[in-house]
Symmetry: C3
Subunit: 215 residues, 3 copies
């Protein structure tokens, strides 16, 4: 993964750490034991990329390289240290440092997803889907494992930046931009729209069905 | 997908639309936002075929062709129009038009699953499993995403037609029927048993374990 | 699968039967119908191996051979017979015979997972992950299908033996042990730590986050 994505290596590591921290904290909050905390941290960090690779029939980078898995495990350890060192009234996942790191990860993962999709020759739809799945798949898998509806389906303006980033990657690549440019445009767009959404509390509209309950 | 399944192209489109409508309505009922409604519609329509392709190491048709994804997105749009245009007291998913379209999709998807399994050289078990997963996998994934036990596991005589159709496909193919015949037999059997199950309220027996609660 | 794992064939069959019985009983307890009981039995028995094969881009043994699927279906039938023949006050899944069979399956599946990972050239992380996923993936999928947080994430010292076994497999193989030895060491370690954990009620520590509720 890393050889072909050199400029993104740092962003990718930041993202793996942030996602692993997020998953571990989520697991600890849900009362899981040490094994569950490690699993949720690792799944949150590596689940999106693994799903991406499975969908396009690649050997998952998470299993075939030591780099990504090491970063994920480091993130689990970091989460435990953070919990011990942070004052009780601070909610780690609401701190600017965490939210910015998480946005970096979202941007890096969306860009790698779009890049792999393009290399595989997928359709525009495929590029958008793979960017989005890579970016939000890990967190969604972790949510499912602890019995929650994935956050991205419920409220946040969290997946939308990845969708926009995937679409932008495809457009820029289709316009014939040189290698590296589509990834950069995608990452900048994801990162900035995510931060703007947090800053201005953006939300997608809810589809109303009024009195129509079902099932 | 479509070139090798020409006689099924129309059925497949009807099924994609019906499944996408079903998924979108389910999401709206569950209170998801616009992104969630689109995701659940697309997952319901494309999830079964994507799972099928992943299981047999094919590049998913949903990501590698524009046709299926376009039909799924069209179905999401159709769901929104239907909700706006249908009187409040009508439950769309109980209308004969919806149920018939859904049964067409079940039939088309079971047939494509069985066909892919046969082309891949799977065992009879594999043919039945792939027919069933293709037919009911999308709806089950959508159920899991919103935190529900998949309907097919709980009550409906919904997966059973796909199981019977997959078995019939294998038998007819093993008897040496010419190309196209196994798919046709499978689709007709799935469609008719599904409609009969709805008409006569068929149910599978429940296995009783009496007082043995667990976990 | 079986040709390359001959010494494990018996353990594997015992495991498939025990896992299918466990899944079927779980489904019956949860009030599913006959189709759901069969699905949960089959998913519990075959889900781990299928996930393993999908992750490394192999055609799943569960779909490409008749042996595994036959054993799983036999296990479903066995569960129904057991329920009918066991006195009401006996909880089948707490009997020593069931627990020992289940531990045999855990050991056999962890060894096959580690073996496939090694054959695929995965990293040490990959060997541990694939051993664990193969051993506990089927039960976890079944838990998710009925809306439960997988048992392995909540409390049991159940996945940990598989993690230890995968690590032991890798170490023994890296030390240059002849073919067959890593699998044997892995299986013996998994089986014995699982039984010791049951006997002495071992648990992993819980990570405490005190007053920090979230989401």
């Amino acid at each position: 993964m890393f050889d072909s994505l050199d400029p993104f290596a740092l962003m990718n590591v930041v993202g793996l750490l942030a996602f692993a921290v997020a998953g571990s904290l989520k697991a600890a909050d849900a009362g899981l034991d040490a094994f569950g905390v490690a699993v949720l941290g690792v799944v949150t960090a590596l689940g999106g990329g693994t799903t991406r690779d499975v969908l396009v029939n690649r050997l998952p980078a998470s299993l075939a390289t030591t780099w990504d898995a090491s970063a994920a495990l480091l993130g689990v350890g970091l989460a435990i240290v953070l919990v011990r060192r942070t004052p009780e009234h601070v909610r780690i996942r609401d701190t600017p440092a965490f939210l910015a790191s998480d946005a970096v990860g979202l941007a890096a993962f969306a860009a790698t997803g779009a890049l792999v999709a393009t290399e595989t020759g997928l359709t525009p739809y495929g590029v958008v889907v793979l960017a989005t799945v890579t970016a939000v798949g890990g967190g969604s898998l972790a949510d499912l494992l602890i019995g929650r509806v994935p956050v991205v389906l419920r409220e946040d303006f969290y997946a939308t930046p990845a969708v926009l980033g995937g679409a932008a990657f495809w457009v820029v690549a289709a316009l014939g931009a040189p290698s590296g440019v589509p990834s950069a445009v995608c990452a900048v767009l994801v990162f900035s729209t995510r931060l703007l959404a947090l800053r201005y509390d953006w939300h997608l509209p809810r589809i109303r069905i009024d009195g129509r309950a079902s099932e």
